[in-house]
Every structure is written in structure tokens, then in C-alpha cells.
């Protein structure tokens, strides 16, 4: 609930342009079994985390098509946060390991396109690690704020 209110507030500030501070757009792709549950846990334990993050729940990080990430950046994301189960804990045996490899490749690609690889983060956050989720999200948002807008959106003009 708190989170929803914060997000509504953010939308308001964007619209009225009162707030001059840079609020990055961050897309979080998290797996249903671990990191989403951790986010949920963070919510019920009333752990505050930045509202700049937009969570998208997926069944597994293994289903993340690199295009999801590329499209996020093209449509204005300043960072993409991916959270999955610890290696060995994947609900689908090895989806998270497949994700890790794809993301390694994609980071090289993004770097070649002039995007800082730090804008794409992959973290293993288990279902019981609400505080870890809070910490990682906070750190990531801080990092993106330091990096500033990605500017990748301009490529979407063709």
C-alpha cells in the first residue's frame, strides 16, 4: 500500500514538475518464486525502498528475452534490475543460470552501444531475503541516480 502511494506521488511530481531531482525510470524484472516474494516480504515488513522501481513479475529469470531489456532502455528506462533465485534454488532447475549467461552477453552488447553495464544489474535474492531486496534496490537506484539519464531513448526515434 505504502509503495502504491509512493508511486502515485511520483507520477504527480512528474506531471507537475515541482520536483527538480532526477527520478530514474527503473524496470525490475523479478522471478515469481524468489525475488518477487522477497519484494512482497519487504512490503509486509514495512521496509521502505525507492519508488523509482517498477516491478514486473515473471515466472523465472530464465524467460527473460534480452529484448525485454533492450526495449526497456529504448522506451526510456535508465536502469534494469533483475532478481532471481540463488543458483541451485531455481524453481525450474536452471533458468537463473541461463539468465546469467544471457545477461553477460547482453552487458557486452550494451557496453558496445555506449550504455554503462552498471545500468543492468542481476542479483540473486531468495524469498526470505526482504532486507536484501531493500538493500539491493536502494543501492541500484543510488547508482543510477549517480549515472544520470541513460539517453538511450533517442535511438527510438527511428
Amino acid at each position: 500500500m505504502e509503495q502504491t502511494t509512493q508511486q502515485t506521488d511520483l507520477v504527480k511530481t512528474e506531471q507537475t514538475n515541482i520536483d527538480e531531482e532526477f527520478h530514474p525510470n527503473i524496470v525490475a524484472l523479478v522471478c515469481n518464486w524468489c525475488t518477487y516474494t522477497a519484494a512482497d516480504l519487504a512490503g509486509v515488513t514495512r521496509l521502505k525502498y525507492p519508488a523509482e522501481i517498477r516491478i514486473i513479475r515473471l515466472m523465472c529469470t530464465g524467460m527473460i528475452d534480452p529484448r525485454f531489456i533492450v526495449e526497456s532502455f529504448l522506451r526510456g528506462a535508465d536502469g534494469v534490475f533483475i532478481g532471481g533465485c540463488h543458483p541451485g534454488d531455481c524453481h525450474y532447475i536452471n533458468g537463473n543460470l541461463k539468465a546469467r549467461l544471457r545477461i553477460d552477453g547482453l552487458k557486452a552488447l550494451l557496453q558496445g552501444m555506449g550504455i554503462e553495464p552498471e545500468r543492468l544489474a542481476l542479483h540473486w535474492i531468495g524469498a526470505s531475503e526482504g532486507t536484501e531486496f531493500q538493500k539491493q534496490v536502494k543501492d541500484f537506484v543510488e547508482e543510477i541516480k549517480k549515472l544520470g539519464p541513460s539517453g538511450f531513448e533517442i535511438l527510438d526515434s527511428i
Binding site: P66, L74, L101, D104, G105, L106, G112, M113, G114
Partner: protein, 366 residues
């Protein structure tokens, strides 16, 4: 003496002599067919052709310095349904890499093919080739002997240092030889060696030392490649330059059609997620109040970049097909180098080497 090496006397006609030699594969019933570049009546453009009778082989130009389309796709397609006898395919080294990658993607079977490839002097763009051919009909032979003609190859070939075939069963040797007098042919694998022996070719001398000629060319093309990659990686990193290069894209998808590795029957870029309806297009116009159409071409190019970066074999057909002359291949090859280095993978090098994304480590760790 090495039985699987033969020097062929060429009498100023290396293409004709080689096609006669390959005709023996059919004559002796060693293969069910030979796929090689050839010309049809009325057209001078070499296209992949399947020969099933040795007398027909005279219209083939196995060492043609042009390729209307990538023969890799055609070889893969007909290689799928080979029954008892092998099928011989004459491919350029980049096309060999393409076939190997397609085999890894379960699109063909390498067991059914006998791959014949050559030390590749490069191919010319189709229009340049046809223009030159009109003036000198012997171009396919002259090209092999004339480095100034070879410098007129397409830009991809001029910056390609992977011109020696890897994974071919039979290799045609050209560099460092007086090709108007003789060319070399040798078996590289057990199958290749067997075929060469069975072809029963007239042998002249032993394998020559080509190391000097090959390493000189490798250096020359390697330098050109470094230069090109340097220039292209600047373009990729700079949004303004990137838009300048890709801004003329018409969205015709020719690059996708030309690509030997775009094997999907239904391309993801043709699916609903790429359906740019009014809602989608106007949402793109939100920020600046305008949007170019067809919209979302960057996503198309980035999708291909994601798919190709680990797999691009560097044949350059995408650039050749582009009506807007966008150097798509340069972008893919440059990006490919970054990604392939990270994933420690070289496409088409080794049929045994799995595609990197299937090679995930199973041990724990971050």
C-alpha cells in the same frame, strides 16, 4: 607422397578445370549431387546451383568472385533430406561457418554433406561484378590472379581475415600459387581425403609452401578489419552517429532475408509485439510530439543485434542487400567481436562447440 593432395593443371582456366575435377565426384558416383555457384542462360550472376550430371558442371564457376545469395542457406536446406549418398557443396569460408552454425541450430545435418571450400579471395558486389563481367568475360578466372581486382571486393571481404576455410572436408588452395598454371586441392578430413583419392586426379608435385602468402593476406585484411571495427564501434557508441547511419533504413527487412543465420520460419519481428498500431505509434510521439514511421526500427535492429552478435559469421550479405546502403554487416561484426570475446565463442569454428547460451555453468556462484 600425400595421396589426398593434388595439384591441378589449370591452363589459364582454373574455374573450368576445377569444375571438371568436381564433375568426377558425380561421374564416379561418389556423391548424389554437387551444389556450386553457376550461371543460367541469360544471367551472369553466379547463384548456387545443384548439379546432378557431370556434363552439366561446365556451367558452374566454383571459384566465382560473386555470390548472388548466401549459399549457406541453400546448402542447409537441401542438406536436411539427404538419403544414402553424401551431397557435395562448394561454399565460401563464411558460408561454411554459416552451415556449421545452422547445424548447431538443428537446421541441417553436417553428416550428409561433403563441404568443399577455398582460400577465399573475396566476392564483389553483384552490380560491380556484372558491370566488370560485361567488359571482360574471363573475370572469374582473372580475378583469382589479379590482386588489384581483388581489392575491388566488397567492403566486408576486404576486412575479413577469416578467409581460410575451417571445417571444410576439401580445401582448394589458391594463395601463393600461380593460379593460371595450377591450383591445389586437398582433403582436410577423413571424408575429404577419401573423396580426393577416389576422384583419381592427375597429380603434379607436392603441396607447396603457402605460409608466406597466407600470412601477408591475413595481416593486410586484419589491419583493415581493426580499422573498420575501430570506426564502427565509435558509431555504435554515439547515438547521433548511429542515427545518421541507420536513419535511412526503410524497414524492408532485406538484411533479415539475406542473413544465412536468420532461420526462424516466423520472425519475432513479424509478430504482434512489432505490430505498430495507432496506440503504439502515438505513445512514441508523446515526448516530442512527432514520430517517424514505420516506427520502432531501432527495436528491429537491436533485436537482430541481440540474435546475431554471438552468431554473425561475417558474410556481409546484409550490407549487400540493403537498398539504402547501410553498412549493417559492419555493425554486426563489430558488435559480434565484443560479445564473442565475452562469451569466448567463435561462430562456425567448430561443430562440436555448443552455442554459448546453451553452455551455462551449473555450479553455484555469482
Amino acid at each position: 607422397m600425400d595421396k589426398s593432395f593434388a595439384m591441378l593443371k589449370t591452363n589459364n582456366q582454373p574455374n573450368r578445370i576445377l569444375s571438371q575435377a568436381l564433375g568426377r565426384l558425380l561421374d564416379k558416383g561418389l556423391v548424389s549431387g554437387v551444389m556450386a555457384p553457376g550461371i543460367t542462360k541469360g544471367s551472369g550472376l553466379p547463384m548456387p546451383m545443384l548439379f546432378t550430371r557431370d556434363e552439366a558442371m561446365q556451367s558452374s564457376i566454383p571459384l566465382a568472385p560473386a555470390a548472388g545469395v548466401s549459399a549457406a542457406v541453400q546448402a542447409a536446406r537441401i542438406g536436411r533430406k539427404v538419403k544414402d549418398k553424401r551431397l557435395a557443396v562448394v561454399l565460401k569460408p563464411c558460408e561454411v561457418r554459416g552451415v556449421v552454425e545452422l547445424a548447431k541450430l538443428n537446421q541441417t545435418s553436417l553428416e550428409s554433406l561433403a563441404i568443399i571450400s577455398m582460400e577465399c579471395p573475396g566476392r564483389m558486389e553483384n552490380d560491380a561484378y556484372l558491370a566488370k563481367l560485361a567488359a571482360s568475360p574471363d573475370l572469374p578466372d582473372l580475378y583469382l590472379n589479379d590482386s588489384s581486382l581483388q581489392d575491388q571486393a566488397c567492403s566486408t571481404c576486404l576486412s575479413c581475415d577469416a578467409f581460410e576455410p575451417e571445417g571444410a572436408d576439401i580445401t582448394i588452395h589458391l594463395f601463393g600459387l600461380l593460379v593460371m598454371e595450377h591450383i591445389g586441392i586437398s582433403g582436410m578430413t577423413a571424408i575429404g581425403k577419401e573423396l580426393i583419392e577416389a576422384m583419381d586426379l592427375e597429380k603434379l608435385g607436392t603441396a607447396p609452401d603457402q605460409r608466406g602468402a597466407l600470412s601477408r593476406l591475413r595481416d593486410k585484411r586484419g589491419r583493415a578489419k581493426e580499422e573498420l571495427f575501430q570506426k564502427t564501434s565509435e558509431i555504435l557508441k554515439n547515438p547521433d552517429q548511429y542515427l545518421e547511419v541507420l536513419g535511412n533504413c526503410l524497414g524492408c527487412f532485406n538484411c533479415r532475408t539475406a542473413c544465412p543465420l536468420c532461420y526462424c520460419r516466423e520472425c519475432v519481428c513479424a509478430r504482434e509485439s512489432f505490430d505498430r498500431d495507432l496506440d503504439d505509434v502515438s505513445s512514441r510521439a508523446k515526448k516530442t510530439g512527432q514520430v517517424r514511421m514505420p516506427a520502432g526500427l531501432s527495436m528491429f535492429h537491436m533485436t537482430r543485434m541481440v540474435h546475431m552478435s554471438h552468431a554473425c559469421v561475417g558474410c556481409g550479405q546484409c550490407s549487400s542487400y540493403c537498398p539504402s546502403k547501410i553498412p549493417v554487416a559492419d555493425l554486426f561484426r563489430t558488435m559480434g567481436q565484443n560479445v564473442q570475446k565475452t562469451l569466448n565463442y567463435s561462430p562456425g569454428r567448430n561443430p562440436e562447440e555448443p552455442i554459448p547460451f546453451l553452455r551455462f555453468k551449473t555450479e553455484a556462484g555469482s
